[in-house]
């Protein structure tokens, strides 16, 4: 699912941009070091392949709804993680521009959510260890299914975090998580099967592409998982650190959203049945010490105050309504005027 500009705050948007750009720069350098020239056009056309394949709809069995291909894992399996990440980033950029999928500010979030997880986590931690060198069909199947599902779970969870941290949505953290993760489990299942199918097809028709790395695979594919993990942890900590720093300086940032995250009194009551489960999820997800989901949860009285309209009295809001109408009119007139002027 693509993040949208309207749902993120500048701090979150900028942080994710920075994170994605850093990975992009790193990957580009890696590609330059390790890949042969032939791969450059191949990457380009592969991007177009993913783009085109995503526009073909197919029916998900049993539901009648239609699904489409994600592509990150296929690319990672065929091109290696670095090249795949750059390709995914380019596909998302084009989609952001031509389809307005997501948006330009949310592009950083989207590249991170849909590119980083499949290409690095999914590939290095799941696909590569299980599928090995693409030896047999069953391993490819299991590897693609698992890696796609896990990558999508990470992605969905990031969407939740980014939305919550941005504080534009009222959705409480736990409701949102419970909403997103199962949906993406289903999506992941379908996508995983499709990915496995395509990889098996390729293996069947042109085994050399998967086996010998005719489609160049960086020598760095043998890079120990540890290194990747370390890079990853560092990146995550940095991102978290920057985020919370931003949050503490901006009024509608983190602190404010923690209040929202814990939910209102009446909501907590409704959810008595699943409350223990939620609490567990929260405990597991409290990955930053500053966050303190749990603590905020206990301080219910504070959150009970209804968020007041930030310091505006009725008089000025009347002006707002009147002014809004007039501004709309002016904008329309200006546009109309230019149009008439141009026709002459």
């Amino acid at each position: 699912m693509h993040m949208a500009d309207a749902l993120i705050s500048p701090a979150v948007g900028a942080t994710m941009w920075a994170g994605s750009l850093a990975v992009l720069g790193y990957s580009s350098r890696k590609i330059r070091e390790t890949i042969d020239n032939k791969t450059i056009p191949l990457m380009g056309v592969m991007g177009a392949f993913i783009f085109a394949a995503q526009m073909i709809n197919f029916t998900i069995p049993g539901t009648g709804s239609s699904g489409h291909l994600g592509g990150g894992m296929i690319l990672a399996a065929l091109l290696g993680p670095y090249a795949a990440f750059v390709v995914v980033a380019s596909v998302l950029t084009v989609q952001a521009l031509f389809f307005a999928d997501g948006g330009l500010l949310a592009l950083g979030c989207n590249v991170w959510n849909l590119g980083l997880y499949p290409c690095f986590i999914g590939y290095y931690l799941i696909y590569k260890p299980i599928a090995g060198d693409g030896g047999n069909y069953r391993r490819i199947f299991i590897a693609s299914l698992l890696s796609v599902i896990v990558a999508l779970q990470f992605g969905a969870f990031s969407v939740v975090l980014e939305t919550i941290l941005s504080g534009k949505s009222e959705l409480p953290f736990h409701t949102f998580v419970l909403l997103m993760q199962p949906i993406h489990l289903a999506i992941g299942l379908v996508e995983g099967i499709v990915t496995a199918g395509i990889l098996s097809y390729v293996k069947n028709a042109r085994p050399e592409i998967l086996d010998t790395g005719a489609v160049s695979r960086p020598p760095a594919a043998g890079l120990p998982c540890k290194n990747i993990l370390i890079v990853f942890v560092v990146l995550a900590v940095l991102t978290g650190g920057v985020l919370s720093w931003f949050a503490s300086t901006s009024p509608d940032g983190l602190e404010w959203s923690i209040e929202k995250v814990t939910g209102k009194g009446e909501l907590a009551e409704q959810e008595k049945g699943i409350a223990p489960v939620l609490k567990e999820i929260q405990e597991k997800t409290a990955f930053l010490p500053d966050y303190n989901f749990k603590q905020a949860h206990k301080e219910k009285p504070e959150t009970e105050k209804v968020p007041a309209w930030p310091g505006i009295d009725t008089g000025t809001s009347v002006s707002g309504v009147v002014g809004g109408g007039i501004v709309l009119g002016i904008v329309f007139l200006i546009g109309y005027g230019i149009r008439i002027f141009k026709r002459q």
Binding site: A4, A6, L7, I31, A52, V91, S317, V318, V327
Partner: protein
């Protein structure tokens, strides 16, 4: 959405970007940077802000009209991608029950306000992004990105992608038509069929990549994609950028809508 219409939609947007108007002629870097500034300014407003967002509509209005872009087309595309924002935003009215006085005697739940704010921001950001691509041809955006310092591999990736979206698009369209023609109803849209189609397409794509590589070698390719440096900032670029920034600043820092409202209320009372 059916494949054909998606494909032609992209094609149409692409054609629009090759028109020749004042907006189209501006340096791509100027447009890219001012658009990003615009987006940042819009989303920097607090979640309950509605009135102050109205003046920003001026920007899409000007791009639409000066750039001669059909408004209906942009509106349709905005609507098409709105579900996710609506899906997330619709929870605000359900969960946020604070009351806000709008007019004497009329109060609204705060949740509706923040929902409206999300929708308005959504409209502004999406339409501006679409207008950017509708008024700036993609290759020039890529050159701008390169000159702004993005990795050359990424930029050449974008260029290839743009070039071959249309080639593969045609190819996929032929395949999908053949599928639909012989699938009589829904059967042909199964996952199994999709996987085969994608597989075939994939192999053809690998072969195509090989032929492209030969064509590149034939013309002296040795691993670096050349960048042309055709673009120069002109005074109209600077003037444009400056006026956008001034407008953004005013709209962000002064409650323009309120001031106008007050002014008119003063006249009529």
């Amino acid at each position: 959405m059916a494949f054909d219409s998606q494909y032609y939609n992209v094609g149409y947007l692409d054609r629009l970007s090759y028109q020749d108007t004042f907006v189209h002629r501006l340096d791509p870097r100027t447009k890219l940077i001012t658009t990003l500034l615009f987006l940042f300014t819009v989303i920097s407003f607090s979640k309950y802000e509605v009135a102050a967002l109205f003046p920003f509509l001026l920007f899409p209005a000007i791009f639409l009209t000066v750039g001669e872009i059909p408004p209906g087309f942009i509106l349709k595309k905005v609507l098409l991608v709105s579900p996710f924002a609506i899906f997330i935003g619709i929870f605000n009215p359900l969960l946020d029950h604070g009351q806000v006085a709008i007019l004497p005697g009329l109060t609204l739940p705060a949740g509706w306000l923040s929902f409206a704010s999300i929708l308005l921001k959504f409209f502004l950001t999406v339409s501006m992004a679409l207008l950017l691509i509708a008024t700036t041809s993609f290759p020039t955006i890529c050159h701008a990105l390169r000159r702004l310092g993005l990795p050359s591999i990424f930029v050449s990736q974008l260029l290839f992608l743009y070039r071959y979206i249309f080639v593969l698009g045609e190819e996929v369209m032929r395949i999908v038509r053949a599928r639909d023609m012989r699938s009589y109803g829904r059967k042909g849209t199964e996952i199994k069929v999709f996987v085969r189609i994608a597989g075939v397409l994939f192999l053809r794509t690998v072969e195509r990549a090989e032929r492209i590589y030969f064509a590149m070698l034939a013309r002296g390719y040795e691993g670096d994609m050349p960048v042309s440096k055709k673009y120069h900032l002109t005074t109209s670029d600077l003037a444009f950028a400056l006026s956008v920034i001034v407008c953004l600043f005013i709209f962000r820092c002064y409650p323009v809508t309120q001031i106008i409202g007050n002014f008119f209320r003063g006249i009529f009372s």
